[in-house]
Amino acid sequence: MAELTMIEAIRTALSRAMEEDPDVIIFGEDVGIDGGVFRATDGLFQHFGSSRVRDTPLSEALIAGMAVGAAAHGLRPVAEIQFSGFIYPTLDQLANHASRLRNRTRGRLTCPMVLRAPYGGGIKAPEHHSESIEAMLAHIPGLRVVIPSTPARAYGLLLAAIRDPDPVVFLEPKRLYRSTSEAVEDTGEALPLDKAFVLQEGTDLTIVAWGAMIKGATEATLQLAESGISVDLIDLATLKPIDRATIRASVEKTGRCVIVHEAPLTAGLGAEISADLAEHCLTSLLAPIKRVAGYDTVMPYLRLEAHYMPDTAHIIDAARNVMEFS
């Protein structure tokens, strides 16, 4: 079985989806002969040709809107926005059209499109290249938002996103693109959307995280185990719709919860998960829910970036704090 990095797993999934369905096409900026700035589409132009792997003009609003039109008329576009910091011009199309087309035509026209974008910080990128924007996307009804945390999950979730009959925004933590590799078999098997992954079962504390934060959360889980704290570790993976049942079941078991996200704290998805637990699991809670998140500030440029990113130490602190409460 091949050892793949996340970027290789994404490329493998794209290639697989294109092989199995001639309606799958890729377009975006520099995705053609250049293979994308992170090489997610490397070699696809050469293999599938210039009509199925298309370099668009530098035109983000168009990329999203053209995907809507193409998806409504029989294609399955996988459009790339070069960095999540440049995703804002697409919000009009995502919020006003992609997410609403099925509903506003009562199912007559649909929008099976995927908008991919490298996401998050941690690679010392230029300004406007490192933001975590999942919460504003997750606030749009009718849209799915997915963030993988490993090569295998990136492969399976991207296949699922492409095959899904509704629009999906697929945010790829670029810090993880090449940081690790793991065995990924190109079986064509998709992973379920709308389903969180329980990475480790434990009894004392639930940690919910996603994307690049899974790395720190996993490390924290191991260190906490050494001091006898048993963690139920959940990779949320699909951020909208949230798999509330899995989180609730875990917290009903452990009575404690730490939520970790790279995005700023206020109105982040941690707030939604906290509120859901407060509404549905109050009698199971043994301690206050704790959020470990990015600061409420502009994403710092590369020299201060490390100070912004939640890391293993922050997660362990929060976990100990919760455990000490009761």
Partner: protein
């Protein structure tokens, strides 16, 4: 310094003058009485629908409505040049085009009455519903055309928007890719001179809107948008080009918004009555009727019969619309996704079936 000029010119075509007199030879289709009567009838039906829609809104029986008064020749001219292979991507003011394409009066009333079932057209199921956020439909047309090229499907996308829409980036971005990729898209601008309260001159210093195509490497032309013959002729020409793989084209239809922007607007706040009155002399129905009378023996009786027929149709559709019960509350979730995820399914329970 020696220089070379890239020079361009923007042509403006017309076949009938304001009183319906032909300007030179008419195209072949416009010498056929049946075709002209069909175009005229469609415009009259559109206007009859329009008055009824406004009356219904004024009496609390319809939502906010955008009138197409005075611009009927654009919708009818555009749609009558299209075939079933083409895809219509409309703004919110092209009721005449939608009706010609087979969208029913009942569906239009339902939609403007606030019921999404009005967008689930029984005919022309490939067409987009009206687009409310101005200009955001342009990229959809590029996407539709891309799908056609990719799948080898015949036909083209025809997208319509108002003059204000040409100030938006979406317009340029879509036209730019249509030029770069040679996609079959016909861009139609209903230049009714007003974007709510901002006049055409306030939108751009460009002398014409059609010339904006030049920057994208596709042809742009103007047409008298109150002359249905000219509109049909030029859209046919643009579609023939597009279908033959010769790419996109921009057509600016010169017209005038005789009514308010919508029923929520009061145009007397920002424009003079005299300007509106002057434009009533140029409106599209009179000139075609004059031409039919002068050339094809259209009689008062023909006219009365047509008005009665349109009124009857519109009244019948109104009755059907008013008798249509709203959907149950859960309909707001039913088609949000192909298959409702757990948290959406939970909402079904919450609102019940009431």
């Amino acid at each position: 310094m020696p220089t070379r000029s890239a020079g361009f010119q923007i042509n403006c075509s017309a076949f009938l003058d304001a009183v319906g007199k032909p300007i030179g030879d008419l195209p072949k289709f416009a010498r056929n009485k049946d075709i002209l009567v069909a175009l005229y009838s469609a415009m009259v039906k559109t206007r009859t629908f329009d008055s009824k829609a406004i009356a219904l809104q004024r009496t609390g029986q319809l939502g906010t409505y955008a009138s197409s008064l005075g611009q009927e020749a654009i919708g009818v001219g555009v749609a009558s040049a299209m075939t079933d292979d083409d895809v219509f991507v409309p703004s919110f003011r092209e009721h005449g085009a939608q009706l010609w394409r087979g969208v029913s009066l009942e569906e239009l009333f339902l939609y403007w009455g606030g019921d999404e079932r009005g967008n689930d057209f029984a005919k022309s199921r490939q067409d987009f519903p009206v687009c409310i956020p101005v200009a955001s439909q342009f990229p959809h047309a590029a996407g539709v055309a891309l799908a056609k090229v990719q799948k080898g499907d015949p036909g083209a996308a025809v997208v319509v928007a108002g003059d204000g829409a040409t100030s938006k980036g979406d317009f340029y971005e879509a036209m730019n890719v249509v030029g770069a990729w040679n996609l079959p898209v016909v861009f139609v601008i209903n230049n009714n001179q007003w974007a709510i309260s901002v006049p055409r001159e306030g939108q751009t210093a460009a002398k014409t809107l059609a010339q904006k195509a030049i920057a994208c490497g596709i042809p742009g032309e103007q047409v008298d948008g109150n002359d249905v013959i000219a509109v049909q002729a030029i859209i046919s020409r643009a579609l023939t080009r597009a279908r033959a793989g010769k790419g996109g084209m921009l057509i600016e239809c010169l017209s005038y918004r005789l009514g308010d922007h919508t029923t929520a607007d009061d145009a007397s706040r920002y424009r003079e009555d005299a300007e509106v009155s002057a434009h009533w002399q140029l409106e599209p129905l009179i000139r075609l009727r004059n031409h039919l009378v002068a050339t094809h023996g259209w009689t008062k009786e023909d006219e009365q019969l047509l008005l009665r027929t349109c009124k009857k149709e519109v009244e019948a559709a109104t009755d059907t619309y008013l008798a249509t019960a709203p959907e149950p509350a859960r309909a707001m979730f039913d088609t949000l996704f192909a298959k409702a995820p757990a948290d959406v399914a939970a909402l079904f329970e919450e609102v019940g079936n009431g």
